[in-house]
């Protein structure tokens, strides 16, 4: 039996009268790649924000590896083992590519700030390890050659990859990718698909992603959750989802909408 990594139990998010996510339940096992799809405004990013602590669910709970993380601050949740990327890239723009990845390891630092200022031996060791790991990650993502560049000067596709590298640097158990293939052409998204599988295997990660490119979703996902108007309308393997009438209606519009 495989290990459960993420467990979202009947999570509901209300903003005043608007129910953005309604009674969402998701179970994700270790080393699964799961996609969360749905039309625009279905509540996918809100679901991400509930999992990462940006929002506290109005009702319901979120558990990571059996531990409750509902309502914790985002930095605590990151420390617990969830890392994410953003729909509209949020890099540390004015800093170098290397710095972006090194900074993401700060949360694992055990030395105190006076020890860091005084460059005590343990801090030096930890600092060197951060840079070594950053090198490893940047090489994996094919970004080592541009390590000295300012993050905002990178081409769009590389910025997306850098965001993934930065998320990996926090040493997560679960990686949330918010539209990783947005703005990519078919060749680039095919490469990205391989990359995401690669990091799953290399780091034994569990991945939950939001994506609109259906070819990417169908290719990469073990399972798919479909949201529409904040509610889960389907769950299953890519093959099952492709056959699901509710999903087809949600995406293409059903008969009752036309009337």
């Amino acid at each position: 039996m495989s290990e459960r990594v993420l467990e979202v139990n009947h999570a509901t998010m209300r903003f005043g009268g608007l129910v953005a996510v309604n009674d969402l339940t998701m179970l994700i096992d270790k080393e699964e790649i799961v996609a969360l799809i749905g039309p625009n405004g279905a509540g996918k990013t809100t679901a991400f924000n509930m999992i990462t602590g940006v929002y506290t669910p109005t009702e319901g709970t979120v558990q990571l590896c059996g531990k409750a993380i509902t309502g914790k601050r985002p930095d605590r949740i990151a420390a617990a083992g969830i890392a994410r990327t953003f729909q509209n890239i949020r890099l540390f723009k004015a800093l170098t590519v290397l710095d972006n990845v090194v900074i993401a390891q700060h949360l694992r630092l055990t030395s105190s700030w006076p020890a860091a200022v005084l460059r005590l031996p343990r801090y030096r060791k930890e600092n060197a390890a951060m840079y070594a790991r950053a090198k490893e990650l940047l090489e994996t993502m094919g970004l080592w050659d541009v390590r000295g560049e300012i993050a905002s000067s990178l081409p769009y596709g590389m910025q997306r990859k850098l965001e993934i590298a930065r998320a990996l640097a926090t040493q997560p158990k679960l990686l949330l990718l918010d539209e990783p293939a947005a703005g990519m052409n078919p060749a680039e998204s095919a490469e990205l698909t391989g990359l995401i599988r690669g990091i799953r295997d290399q780091f034994h990660l569990t991945i939950l992603l939001i994506e609109h490119h259906m070819d990417v979703v169908m290719d990469i996902s073990d399972r798919i959750y479909v949201l529409n108007y904040g509610s889960l309308i389907a769950e299953g393997t890519p093959a099952q989802i492709q056959q699901n009438d509710d999903v087809i209606r949600a995406y293409l519009g059903g008969d009752e909408d036309e009337a």
Binding site: R90, F92, L95, I103
Partner: protein
Amino acid sequence: MTKMKKSSVVLTCLLLLLLSGALAFIDGNASQYIVRITRLCAINIVLALSMNLVQGFTGIFSLGHAGFMAIGAYSVALLTIPVAKKETIFMLEPLIAPLDTLTLPFGVALIIGGVLAAAAAFLIGLPCLRLRGDYLAIATLGFSEIIRILITNAQCVTNGAQGLKSIPKTADIWWCYGIALVVLVFIALLVSSSYGRALKAIREDEIAAESMGISLLRHKMLSFMISAFLAGVGGGLYASYIGTIGPDVFQISRTYDILMIVVMGGMGSITGSVLAAFIVTIGQEWLRVLDGPLPFLPFWPENGVSGMRMVVFSLLLLIIILFFRNGLFGHKEITWSSVGARLSALSGHAHKEVTKP
């Protein structure tokens, strides 16, 4: 790479030696006026660096500096004025115990001033650091005013509006530059450490920083308290430098003076702050000419216009903000390699060096 590092160390040591030689020369030979301005430069370096840590490196828009300076200045004054003098200063109401019979060495008083300023920063930081941008600026500005009004009214501790005089002028050129150097090295080590990188991450994008596991409140508080500590130390040096302090010394305009240095030097540039501290401090004195009569201008009032230099200075600042938005250096630092590159570019060697295999 290590060779370059080594030569940088050697060059830095040479520069320090040269600077201390220059300081010794100024201390021994220059007029009292020049020595005072030279000391003020060092004090402004301390204050500018401490403000740059919050404004430039952490991206917290705090305007409470005058308040932290005041705390440091009054601490140093109250702890170093000789007991006999204290009796004559506090005429309206006697100074409360144990301050009335207590004097401490200058260095200890400085540190106590810094610690008290940091403690105040902790107390106002708890509610205020949750605010962002303009709101934080207004809250810290308010704090600075509160400190000033407390000082004006706490007659039995601060001597109210009469202020404190006879503060021993211990802060000579060596004290000022010694502390400026220590602060400079400290800030440089801090911002290049993992904690400094975390602060820069917060400056760049709070939401991303938090989702990368950086606790916003903890790191902002760290930066804010260290900055307040250094502002307190700077304020203490300033008290010893001018010898007489009162509540009006620590008006909001003190904060703006320092902000001007930080903006001119570049938010997030240590070397920029140091250089701008010299430019602004010396410039403010040098432009004093403008306050006096200007005989070559026929229409100018005979006795000159007092405050004219501040008009010119404000114009200069305006030009900097309009045309050099990032100050002289932006986020960049002056390093030996950048100086070298600039020099070789000037002498036309840059081309040859690049083409060399």
